[in-house]
Symmetry: C4
Subunit: 253 residues, 4 copies
């Protein structure tokens, strides 16, 4: 079988809430999910292996091999879903999303799904806003109750979006929460500010209580690093323009 | 399973006629199909989900998630097939076409299939002509009865064409009707004039009666928009040529 | 199922010889195979449909739809295998080759397989030579008996080569015969000279008797067309060089 | 089935050690594995065929066709795994790695897996160092016992790395040994020095006794060839720079 789940522990949960955060744009959703999992000490109980993951193995700093896989954690009646990569093909992303929902539905039923994602916006975002996308018109009111604006068009790519397809097909209420992020790539760094906004919304909706100190600290650090990055970028652009201008002059004389 | 059908309603149809219009070149076939479905108030009774659809979810203006899927509508003994996307791989297009025919054949039998498509032609088309491609030599006469010229060579790409492969394999008579369209992309706009020509032919063949007022209005609007677009394009080309010509002069002097 | 065979006729053959000629480089193998099939009036008895074929349907000049498929013809104890396209993915080419062998082996057993292919050589080939590649060392002697030199290294791509993989796995003796062809693309035209050389070798090995007049005529026509093409090409190259030379002069003065 | 194993011989091995060396960077792992197999006269007992191998057949210098396949050799309680190519898709590499482990686990159980690979480093490596990556923290001590440094981050691509994913999933202890190699491509030549280092480590760990004379000779030859190659490269770079510099002068005057 090209996809399968390996249970590490027999967990008894009934009608759990799923919280999904696969690595994606700006690493926002994964950072937010990892933070919650760490702070509430959620326990890993299952792993999903798929042929559609990238074909390498990660090497950790101590020489330990880390396979590419999806990880499932739980705490109370919450299941947290993340992993170190998304499937590399569209078919693989469909298969993984469908597999997660059908396996967990069959075993535990599912009350509701919260997927997290990032929403790229141009320009400076002082405080990233969180938007919502829902599988059922009734959920729009639910969003508004928590001050979340419905996203007004566009699309959500990858497993964090596609999971709503299979939720909707199965009739499971699902919400995708998207935090504003900037169109930058930060290498291996996550947009912590955007992640923090997601954590705030998710904890507010679900009633999960967590210590926000660490993520607030990191968000501030990210803010400073980003400012420096942008200043450096502007300096570079300015210098480039001056160089070009001088080159143009050379041509003229 | 990587493809599956979800029935929303138990429909009793016997030996239905299939009318197929997937989104393709100039959005012609889909626009035509949607128009007929809307005007005769055909009812959606099934959806097809496939792993080979693009891996995103569409967000509508009200924040509602719309999965990529194939939709099946019915009215009397007609089944209408469309969707918001085609599978992104050739394998996926084959699988979907084969799946539609084998599922509907098994459940209802199929009398005949009318697929719609667009046929790109160079130059100005005052009134788009509709061409026909058939799975059986006997159907050539059928085309001529309705004044439809057989297409004289070439190929038809995508699900609107491939469905004839599986119709022919299963021995189901099938016709693909192709409306002339211009080699332009209109962004999100459909070539309504080409779609109108398809609607006229399909309704004439099937005896489906529908109000053409709206599509005629939109076709006129499209005609005007297209004329403006072409004028703008010609102006741009002229200006570009003049610019180039001036640049050439600069080099000479 | 993503690949399947449709029998048009119940044929009783025992331990047949397979002759394989899929369209490939210079259309050589297919042209050779089609010529033999036509001349000995071999009868089509089966078709293979696969999701890995290109996703379009061919339109013939009379408006008839021709699906992409593999076609199986027979005459006496020979089965001829060709089609209007090869699968577009490596996986698809493996699957088709494996499927052909396992289906025909199960139903009829197979005595031996002759696959045809083209071998691109640089420079002018007065009379294209035919090389052989075999699945069993014992077959080298067999080749020499018919004056066929063993190919001395390299590889054979596509279904005409891959079929030897599954022949060898199943223990069926198989030979691939490759005719020298030039590194040109002739658009829709086949390298008839190369095809003629294959037909001569295949008929000599198998004892199939066919009239060679037509292919000899066409090979002569091809020869003349090719000579003109090469002259035109040389003229173009000469003119291009002169143009460049003049341009260089312009820069110098 | 798109992947399958063909047993050439019924071998009775219990809890074997797997030594894996697929062709990869610098042909290092394959060269090392082939050398051990040849020297200890390990016997081929199985072949694996997969649709995800490249779609061609290799032609040997005597005209014999060699299919792309994975080959399994054995000697005592060791199974050696190599082949003439890796699957061309990530899915295929996952499938092959998973298939090897599940087939051999089911049939023989597996005590441990040693995979070989290459590790690209910049700059001159006098004596290539061998690094280790392990599936279990307990194996780090094992590495150190043999003087092998744990690799400190990064990733291992292809079947030689991916096989650790499925080893870890199945709870089989596995080590990947990576020999330093230079970022050059040597065409069809292997980095024999890097391969020699792997052979030394593998034989030291497993207690396999083999004659090292040939590989030491070849490593010396490789060393000389590499030195010449680098000198030639440096000369070329120098000449190129001089040419550029002269061209620049031409522009200036």
């Amino acid at each position: 079988m090209s996809i399968r789940i390996k249970f590490l522990k027999d967990v008894r949960i009934e009608n759990p809430y799923l919280i999904v955060g696969f690595p994606g744009i700006g690493y926002v959703a994964k950072f937010a999910l990892d933070y919650i999992v760490e702070k509430i000490k959620a326990e890993k109980f299952a792993e999903i292996y798929s042929y559609s993951f990238p074909s390498f193995i990660i090497v950790k700093s101590n020489g330990l091999a880390e396979p590419i896989r999806t990880e499932l954690y739980y705490s109370n009646n919450f299941i947290f879903i993340t992993g170190n990569a998304q499937p590399i093909t569209p078919e693989g992303q469909h298969e993984l999303s469908d597999f997660i929902i059908s396996e967990l539905m069959r075993k535990y039923k599912i009350s509701m799904i919260y997927a997290m994602a990032a929403y790229v916006v141009e320009g400076r975002v002082e405080e990233p806003k969180v938007y919502g996308v829902v599988t059922d018109p009734l959920l729009i009111e639910f969003l508004k109750k928590y001050g979340i604006s419905p996203m007004s068009g566009g699309s959500i790519s990858g497993a964090n979006g596609i999971i709503l397809t299979y939720a909707k097909e199965m009739g499971i209420p699902a919400v995708c929460l998207l935090s504003e992020t900037l169109p930058y790539t930060y290498g291996y760094y996550a947009d912590v500010k955007a992640a923090k906004a997601l954590v705030e919304v998710i904890t507010s909706i679900t009633g999960i209580k967590i210590d926000m100190t660490d993520i607030e600290e990191k968000a501030k650090g990210f803010e400073i690093a980003l400012r420096k990055f942008k200043e450096a970028e502007e300096t570079t652009i300015k210098e480039e323009r001056e160089k070009e201008w001088k080159r143009d002059l050379t041509y003229l004389w």
